[in-house]
Symmetry: C2
Subunit: 201 residues, 2 copies
DNA sequence: GTCTATAGGCTGATAGAC
DNA sequence: GTCTATCAGCCTATAGAC
């Protein structure tokens, strides 16, 4: 009884998520109607409710899946021992991951306020877990006397904002390759925490 | 014939802008109805159209007014000659101005996509004017050999994102005073561009 | 300038046939 | 699982009385 293909329903469920993500990112959750999603998926509006209980669940799942995948992806990274190198690893990871998923990133920052309280709490907890990553790296570097920071919490928030901001202006056809952008940010971030790129080679 | 008070209409027009700003910031443009604005202003929905042609104009004017006021405020600053000092002036100015007007800042970043194309172009032009300020400071510092930046454009965007990000986590009752936060950011930014705070005094 | 009333259309979500 | 049809309510914007 091996199923070699997904059923029609599984296919539809997947397409609904894809379309919802795309439209929420483009127009905003509140500005997108279930009918519009259905049209783009290629089904009637009523059929959507075979795959999700309501519009709010659609958004919540998109955000939760994104945040969980982000945390999992970081979890699979091999981490160097040196805090300065950890910081560089994080900078490159964050830029790479976020530039590959601009829509997910966008809704993660823009649509939080459209979550009902319980759903918001859930996503917020995942977000704080992710924020803890740079925070811990900075704290370690500061403890080791390698960094020069007045406040590691503020520095972590500043670095995150800085890195995530790349998604607002990056264009694939732009002046700078992604690799080059990473390099520029690694320098900026390393300088900002009070170390310089390891010279001597 | 001196009018000592504004007419009732002027008062209403002002309140409409205030209420629209507050609600757009809180719930998002698409999620706020004209009826909701009218209710909070204390008039019937139809009366709003005596003061603005439509909902879109309400948003456009709020954004344009904010951006213009921001540019004007910077224009009134006295600017030191030294690029490093200019940068510090800008950091403090940006944080101060933005923390005083969280709602305006919020809609300026969140609601751009809800602007119709012509309105978007208008606001975007103002935004680029503002972005030119840190860009020019960084270019001057780099030319003078005072800064150590791989790319002044990217650095300017990074610094702006970093500074504006303060509005997402700052709380008046929080651990850090605004003054202290400014100090932390001045250090972070000065380090990131490759200078250290001028010592020796 | 504000009111009431309304036009014309869209909304999220459900019911029941197939 | 998808369809058609529909409910009940909301939306922006306008018309005309005062």
């Amino acid at each position: 009884m091996a199923r070699t293909h997904g059923s029609k329903g599984e296919e539809t469920a997947k397409r609904i998520d894809e379309v919802a993500l795309k439209l929420f990112a483009k127009k905003g959750y509140a500005a997108v109607s279930m009918r519009e999603i259905a049209l783009e998926v290629g089904v009637q509006a009523g059929a959507l409710y075979n795959h999700c209980p309501n519009k709010q669940a659609l958004l919540t799942n998109l955000l939760a899946d994104h945040m969980q995948a982000l945390l999992d992806a970081w979890g699979e990274m091999e981490l160097p021992k040196d805090p300065a190198q950890q910081l560089e690893t994080f900078v490159r990871f964050h830029i790479q991951y976020h530039l590959k998923r601009p829509d997910q990133v966008f809704i993660s920052y823009m649509e939080l306020r459209n979550l009902e309280p319980d759903n918001f709490k859930k996503i917020e907890a995942l977000r704080r877990q992710y924020e803890a990553i740079p925070k811990n790296i900075l704290a370690a570097g500061q403890m080791a006397g390698q960094f020069n920071l007045a406040d590691t919490h503020v520095a972590a928030m500043a670095i995150l904002a800085q890195l995530t901001g790349v998604t607002t202006w990056y264009r694939e056809q732009g002046r700078l390759s992604q690799q080059k952008i990473e390099d520029i940010y690694v320098q900026l971030v390393c300088q900002s925490v009070g170390i310089t790129l390891s010279g001597g080679h």
